[in-house]
């Protein structure tokens, strides 16, 4: 049990990570290594009239300078969005062409127009500056509110008015009728601030073309190397799948930004063939700010209606989402199917309608970022609940309780069927730990010190492990959303797990091994996780949307079932017992009620020696499985945040943060707690500190850590994290996924606490000191003490 499910086992991978011995993409150095540097547009919108590469080509050590005309001339395809959304009038979404290297137009600052391949990285960058691009500047739409206006600059020819789609979910007439019957209606206009994902390891790609074999190898910072190979082959025509190996070695964080296939990987592969050199590109932080897909960026107006008893009777939402200059791989799904189906929250709401319009802008493409759509939905629902409670003079916890779903399964009017949960319980746990009863005394004590203290809630639901594939397909997904696993028991009894999930920091090498250890009683040291290499793992969908637990581990569990069945047969045969009497525990395979047993490794050996197997059984002990869940999993949580605001400066200090999460079965509590800490910290970053800012010309104003504020340790309190487990009935382990909950649930808790402290409902994220000070000046609350 010590290393099985539920044990806080220390992470196996941390020895190499904490001693500097992790091997990342940029650590790959091939014999004939050359380096790529991209020539990027300094303009947000311009026509490319010419590219003069002569000065760069003349530099010693420059191997080649390649452009978009050559790329498309070689048949490299446009970058695609893999989820087709249909507008409410039945028309398909308007996807504009995105070439890895721009040909006629550039559409955001950072759009690549050419690439320099040189002997050193430093030289490549200097030569890239020597490439002279003749631009004709065009008018710019740097925000969604600009690009949706009549007469706005046209960014893609096939998207009139820059609109990509006008989509809806739910029953508008029912929502209107619900609102008409309401005795109280709360209205909110909110923005969900645009964020830059900032994984610690910047993106990198090392491509190597083998002309003798006509074969390509790509090392890349990917959360999903098989998806990368599929898309590179099927859509970008770089190479057929069997001639392309994609390896994602250690990956240092992703938060979604490393799901997508970017221009740089495509270009490096193609350039490797063109130059017959291995080509490496590694982003620096400045480049990451202008090329990694950003997140969020919604503008929403919404109304929620209540009856006399405080029950929600209607909810109507109108959202405008910024997609950026091009449609990134999953960009279309984030403000639609990852957003609107979450608008029911933890509440029994019969009438919901959501309209979403998306637009191009002259900014970096926007795609999924930790939570992806669900934070946007949660922020809206939870600010709505808190605001409504204040307007109706009710306790915000009580208003939530009155509306909680209490029976499962529960079908919402926005697609989702919730499987399990206990919302009153987790709220009660959070309230008790946060000592809500003692809050008035703490507020009075703070006021005596001249501080404004506030408390805010967020009781939220999320949906992990997007599924099943058939349903996703019917909603427009271009891929299935299952996962694969292969379990190889070696002749000596050690076990290799090949999984299509891929860790970018989550600790899969530990948690996946714990699932195996739990099943067979073998030490986790004897279990090796193999992932991140398309030559080793047959196929997989990768890691995002908190899916590695509910989907990836479930595939492992399914393959383990098959291994276990064969082990039983082998042991029953060798021990002359019935299969039903075989018990596997503590590294032994025993016959129940007897002293007959085989050691685990003896079964492995028996399978491979094959001297004494049941009649007709194939030798070996290796099984694989594909797991396609029947439904999403639905983690839920209750967060309570307490803040103190300094009215003189507007500074907010988070003095207490309490979480009670239901992640279903927990494999490793220590790792789960770490995920909550990280997620909540990112949510605090969104609530207080982070926002990508463009000026009217589409220039990024805070593209470095000197101006873009990431949360630091001192910005967060010591968290109170607790769990309540209601296992998911829809996967074999009962797990629900925990990677995103913190980032999804925390922003509204923080803002609700600040608005409680200063006495307003009008405050936008990020709640910087200046923003809070202005809200106070606007008359939010008279300041008691100086």
């Amino acid at each position: 049990m010590s290393s099985g499910i539920g044990a806080s086992v220390k992470r196996k991978e941390d020895k190499r990570f904490t001693t500097g011995k992790g091997k990342y993409t940029d650590d790959v150095r091939n014999d004939n290594q050359a380096y790529a540097a991209f020539v990027r547009s300094p303009h947000a919108h311009a026509r490319v009239k010419g590219i003069d590469t002569s000065a760069a080509m003349a530099m010693d050590g420059v191997i080649d300078v390649l452009n978009g005309q050559q790329l498309t001339g070689d048949g490299i395809g446009n970058i695609i969005c893999g989820w087709a959304i249909t507008s409410k009038d039945g028309s398909p979404m308007n996807m504009g062409a995105w070439s890895a290297l721009a040909t006629e137009k550039v559409r955001y600052v950072g759009d690549a127009v050419a690439v320099v391949i040189a002997e050193t990285q430093a030289l490549a960058r200097i030569a890239a500056e020597a490439v002279d691009v003749d631009y004709e500047e065009l008018p710019v739409a740097a925000s969604v509110l600009t690009s949706m206006k009549d007469g706005a600059p046209q960014i893609h020819e096939n998207a009139p008015g820059n609109q990509i789609y006008d989509w809806e979910l739910g029953d508008e007439a029912a929502a209107d009728a619900g609102l008409a019957s309401a005795t109280h209606i709360t209205s909110l206009d909110l923005t969900n601030n645009r964020l830059s994902p900032n994984p610690m390891e910047p993106r990198s790609a090392v491509a190597k073309y083998d002309d003798a074999e006509d074969h390509y190898t790509l090392y890349t910072t990917s959360q999903n190397p098989h998806v990368a190979r599929l898309v590179l082959s099927a859509f970008y025509n770089v190479a057929p799948e069997h001639k392309l190996r994609v390896i994602a070695p250690d990956v240092g964080g992703g938060f979604g930004a490393k799901i997508y296939i970017y221009p740089e990987e495509i270009t490096c592969l193609w350039a490797s063939m063109k130059t017959n050199r291995s080509v490496k590109w590694t982003s620096d932080r400045s480049e990451a700010f202008i090329t990694d897909a950003h997140g969020r960026d919604h503008v929403t107006s919404a109304k929620m209606g209540f009856d006399d008893a405080g029950k929600i009777v209607g909810f109507k939402v109108d959202t405008i989402a910024n997609i950026g200059a091009y449609m990134s791989l999953f960009s279309s799904s984030v403000p639609t199917y990852l957003y609107a189906p979450l608008l029911s929250g933890q509440y029994n709401i019969q009438n919901i309608h959501c309209n979403v319009r998306t637009y191009y802008t002259n900014t970096v493409p926007v795609d999924a970022y930790r939570g992806a759509g669900r934070p946007e939905a949660t922020y809206l629902v939870e600010r709505m609940m808190e605001t409504a409670a204040r307007e109706m003079g009710m306790d915000p916890a009580e208003l939530r309780r009155r509306n909680f779903i209490q029976e499962f399964p529960h079908q919402t009017p926005v697609l989702m069927q919730y499987d399990a949960g206990d919302f009153p319980k987790i709220l009660e746990m959070a309230q008790e730990t946060a000592d809500v009863a003692g809050f008035p005394a703490r507020r009075a004590e703070a006021e005596a010190r001249g501080k404004l203290r506030g408390i805010g809630y967020s009781t939220f639901i999320e949906a992990c492990g997007l599924a099943p594939s058939k349903a996703a397909g019917s909603l427009g997904a271009g891929v299935g959303l299952w996962e694969s696993a292969e379990v190889r028991v070696n002749p000596v009894g050690s076990i290799e797990i090949l999984t299509g999930s891929h860790s970018h920091g989550q600790g899969h090498e530990t948690t996946f091994a714990q699932v195996v250890a739990d099943r067979f009683g073998v030490p986790i040291e004897n279990v090796q996780i193999v992932h991140g290499d398309t030559d080793k793992v047959q196929f997989g969908m990768g890691t995002y949307g908190s899916r590695s637990g509910p989907v990836g581990m479930s595939a492992v569990a399914k393959a383990l079932d098959k291994v276990e069945a064969k082990v039983r047969k082998i042991a029953a045969h060798a021990l002359e017992a019935s299969e039903d009497d075989i018990v596997i525990e503590g590294g032994e395979v025993k016959v129940a009620g007897t002293d007959k047993s085989m050691a685990w490794h003896e079964v492995g050996l028996a399978a491979y020696i094959a001297h004494n197997l049941p009649e007709g059984m194939e030798p070996g002990l290796k099984e694989s499985a594909f797991f396609d869940p029947v439904n999403f999993s639905f983690p839920s949580g209750a967060f309570i945040c307490e803040v103190e605001v300094d009215p003189d400066t507007g500074t907010t200090e988070i003095v207490q943060f309490t979480s009670a999460d239901d992640f279903g079965t927990i494999i490793n509590p220590m790792i789960v707690e770490g995920q909550v800490h990280g997620g909540v910290t990112q949510g605090i970053g969104q609530a207080l500190l982070e926002q990508v800012v463009y000026d009217e010309d589409g220039q990024l104003l805070n593209g470095s850590y000197m101006d873009y504020t990431m949360p630091r340790a001192a910005d967060v309190p010591s968290f109170h994290v607790q769990h309540h487990e209601t296992p998911s009935p829809n996967n074999p382990l009962g797990v629900k996924g925990c990677g995103e909950a913190g980032a999804i649930g925390s922003p509204p808790a923080v803002i609700n606490a600040i608005t409680d402290a200063i006495g307003t409902n009008d405050l936008a994220m990020p709640a910087t000191p200046q923003a809070v000070w202005r809200a106070i000046q606007a008359g939010a609350k008279s300041v008691a003490a100086e």
């Binding site: 430093a122 805070n702 850590y705 200046q770």
Partner: protein, 264 residues
Amino acid sequence: MYPTKYHKPASIADAVAALNGGDEAMLLSGGQTLLATMKQHLAAPSDLVDIRGIAGLSGISANGNELTIGATTTHAEVAGNVDVRRLCPALADLASGIGDTAVRNMGTIGGSIANNDPAADYPAGLLALNATIVTNTREISADDFFEGLFATALDEGEIITAVRVPAPSKAAYAKFAQPASLFALVGVFVADSGSGVRVAVTGAGEDGVFRHAGLEAALTGSMGDASIDAVDISDGNLISDIHGASDYRAHLISVMAKRAVLSL
């Protein structure tokens, strides 16, 4: 970064020779601004003249009521030095709040004031403390030294060797940090020399660090936070950027001035 030629002279004379020998030579002290700028291709010195190896440029000494701080003395050294703590604890406090630990272990006082970033901390301290900047050719009062955004009175080839700081009777620095960079969004240094009060503001001025005549007059009249309420802090000539508009900065000057006074 672009190729550059690195020099590590052992004397001021050699440093001057190296500076004059390059087309676009620059001095390197702590490198906390210059190296980052070079990596971004925003600076391209032909030669880098690293003065950290020159004997006598680093270290702190006290002579009666005056501190002498060598140009290549790091922020961490100033923050932890017993003589600075004894004679001018406000300056040690200021140094302890610059950037982060790595910056404080590399960055130097000479490098900071030669760069004269409009949001740097040291310019406010040295200006309020009426310090003297000593170079290889002359001595310059802080009032004359800080000329504007990234501009100082230093001539071509002139090298700061030390800073002399007279101990105030009391002084304090209050800083409201720009949250990303941890530079000052507004920093106010109040120094009472015994014969008058000087108040310097950093982070806020469109022309860099400046003395605030209104605050100086009010606090010379009566040293107390109540005096500050009566002072009109105009937002004219104050910076407006994504981190704070000029009216917010003006308000913070008042708040930080009060906090400095209350901690005197």
